[in-house]
């Protein structure tokens, strides 16, 4: 009962000084909103990254050629070869399958007067199992297609939709860079990923056909290594071996940089987040700083208010208030602005997180972890008012009355 009356007294004080209440509540709202939006965005990005890693293959390691900066532009250097694949196959322990691929971006493709530009992949049949990228309809490539450099292709869902619309693509003949290919199958849906773009806008052909009919290119654009299992230990051991084998194969001296890049599923997931962990921690740090500022503002402003409100405290004591009443009232002022500011911050944070999730096509993740951080910030701000409240409660009423 007494607590309710003291809360009422606190509300009367806050209502009488809306500017001060706003000043106290604003930093709490900012820190809460920033923390909630950051955490919710991170959860959405993590879900997206995990999905991307799963989609690429949680047991798949990707090896790419290294990059070199020439005239201010970064470009890949042709360092990966079939010889590397053979060497990895013979020496790598803990790998289930190893495949090299050739990739060409922006290849003109046409069918029946419709044109498009797609990414063409030259692969061997085991690639479909490694990347879980087989044919949804029709057939995938077989060894005979590779052996004979057959002009057959498997097209992605985007290619099918753009070139064929409602027509049946299976068995049709399309022109890839002016070379006719028969559509043998349609790939499963993979969707877009930050690392690979629209993965349905691709066409897969035999790696031998890629070399013989389209691009006479010796080097490989990617080697994929499928581990025997997806454990971090296995992947780390493979990573170590790959570096050792390829550095030896490429005659890279000690102290020199690699001329290739090895990407583990964790790295692929990180790249797929779209927001690096460091930016996430920066945002969370800013939210933390805002929370500290909020707590300091509440603590210092309340402390200052206690000094200027000694007369009020004195008269409350004179008409029967206990020190605990004063403590409850002053602390309730801090708690109220923290809860109200935090509540507003939570609403803004949810709205911002929802907007970002829609904009970035992320899952709107709102779990206990997302809400726990901002609630902790609100709690810190609320507690900040207790110290000055204690000072107020300890004031000698006779001294407080004299002060006015």
């Amino acid at each position: 009962m007494r607590l309710a009356k003291n809360l009422r007294a606190a509300l009367q004080v806050l209502a009488a000084q809306p500017g001060r209440a706003l000043l106290l509540a604003l930093p709490v709202a900012v820190s809460t909103a920033l923390a909630l939006a950051t955490l919710a965005l991170d959860q959405g990005l993590m879900a997206k990254a995990e999905a991307a890693a799963r989609s690429f293959g949680t047991d798949v390691i990707s090896i790419r050629p290294g990059t070199r900066v020439v005239a201010g532009k970064s470009g890949s250097i042709n360092t990966l070869t079939d010889g590397d694949v053979q060497m990895l196959r013979s020496r790598l322990r803990g790998a289930r399958a190893i495949e090299g691929t050739r990739i060409e971006d922006s290849v003109p493709v046409s069918f029946g007067g419709k044109n498009g530009v797609y990414r063409v992949w030259g692969v061997r049949p085991p690639w479909a199992d490694i990347r879980r990228f087989g044919a949804e309809r029709g057939d995938f490539l077989n060894e005979a297609d590779v052996d004979t450099s057959a002009r057959v292709c498997i097209i992605g869902q985007t290619v099918s939709r753009e070139l064929f619309a409602t027509q049946e693509p299976l068995g049709a003949e399309i022109l890839i860079n002016q070379v006719p290919f028969r559509v043998k199958g349609v790939l499963v849906v993979k969707g877009a990923s930050p690392a690979e773009g629209d993965r349905d806008a691709r066409i897969v052909i035999p790696i031998s056909t890629f070399y013989d009919r389209l691009y006479r290119r010796v080097h490989l654009d990617q080697i994929v290594v499928q581990a025997k299992d997806a454990s971090q230990d296995t992947l780390a051991r493979l990573d170590e071996q790959i570096h050792a084998i390829l550095r030896e194969q490429h005659h890279i001296a000690a102290g020199q940089k690699d001329d290739f890049t090895v990407r583990l599923p964790k790295k692929i997931a990180e790249e797929s987040r779209g927001l690096s962990r460091s930016i996430f921690f920066l945002l969370l740090g800013l939210a933390g700083i805002a929370a500290v500022v909020a707590a300091l503002v509440i603590g210092l402003v309340t402390q200052q208010a206690v000094r200027s409100r000694q007369g009020e405290i004195g008269i409350r004591r004179a008409v029967g208030a206990l020190p605990s009443d004063i403590l409850q009232q002053i602390a309730a002022e801090g708690v109220t602005v923290s809860v109200v500011g935090g509540g507003v911050g939570l609403i803004i944070g949810v709205a911002v997180a929802w907007g970002l999730a829609r904009w970035q096509e992320l899952a709107f993740a709102f779990n206990a972890w997302v809400i726990a951080g901002p609630l902790a910030f609100i709690l810190v701000s609320a507690l900040a008012g207790f110290l000055p409240a204690r000072t107020a409660a300890c004031l000698d009423p006779a001294v407080a009355l004299r002060s006015r």
């Binding site: 004080v13 004179a318 029967g320």
Partner: protein, 232 residues
């Protein structure tokens, strides 16, 4: 209410850390229903004496009895409850909370009493009796000095206090308003309230039924005590 003080001493430490004796062996007996004026120059200990009687301050030495009960051993909770129910304070600066209306200021003691319901009737009666009914929703800044002091008196009397402690209650009022406030105190004394009023104005002190004069923390004159050798 019966007020008894025997050998009250109180010493303060000033801002320079020096000990300043405020009360030096004060003896005072105030019978229920008396209207006593304590006068003296600034710093003579009048307000300190009022704070000791009002349970706002504790003496260093001496005995303070209110209605026959020694208050020295009372816990803070009992002192606060006693201030809430039995003692009313009126100050020169009114001490109204500026963000509360006149009515809310009068109701302030209700916040700290254990009654669950705010007695709206009692508040209305109190406001009416002091001529404040028409200004009950105004804030202190919108009231005259006299009205503000009436609000302070209403607050002091709301829970039925039978001891009213007034510290320079007319100090900030014009002469006419001061007279009306002092008339109000006289009426309250006639109704049985014990009133102890602190003032440094002799004209104000004369309105009381008993005059006590202090100097250097001691009572140097009390109109109720016959000087030795004087004929009654």
């Amino acid at each position: 209410m019966l007020v008894e003080l025997q050998g009250i001493h109180k010493t303060y430490r000033d801002s320079h850390g020096q000990l300043v004796p405020a009360l030096q062996g004060v003896d005072l007996f105030v019978a229920a229903g008396q209207f006593v004026a304590i006068s003296g120059s600034s710093g003579c200990g009048k307000s300190t004496l009022l704070n000791v009687i009002g349970c706002l301050d504790r003496p260093d030495r001496g005995v303070c009895r209110l209605d026959g009960e020694e208050v020295a051993g009372w816990a803070e909770r009992r002192r606060a409850a006693f201030r809430n129910h039995r003692i009313g304070f009126v100050f020169q600066n009114f001490f109204l909370l500026p963000f509360l209306t006149a009515r809310q200021n009068v109701e302030l003691p209700y916040l700290y009493c254990d009654r669950t319901q705010c007695g709206a009737d009692a508040v209305v009666r109190m406001l009416d009796s002091l001529g404040l009914a028409e200004v009950e929703n105004r804030y202190p800044g919108e009231l005259s000095g006299g009205q503000q002091q009436r609000v302070a008196i209403a607050r002091a009397l709301l829970l039925g206090a039978d001891l009213l402690l007034a510290d320079e209650p007319s100090g900030n009022l014009d002469a006419t308003t001061a007279q009306s406030i002092l008339d109000l105190f006289s009426n309250l004394a006639q109704q049985g309230k014990t009133i102890i009023l602190v003032t440094h104005e002799s004209a104000v002190a004369k309105r009381a039924s008993r005059q006590v004069e202090m100097a250097a923390g001691q009572i140097v004159h009390d109109s109720a005590v016959q000087p030795q050798g004087a004929t009654p």
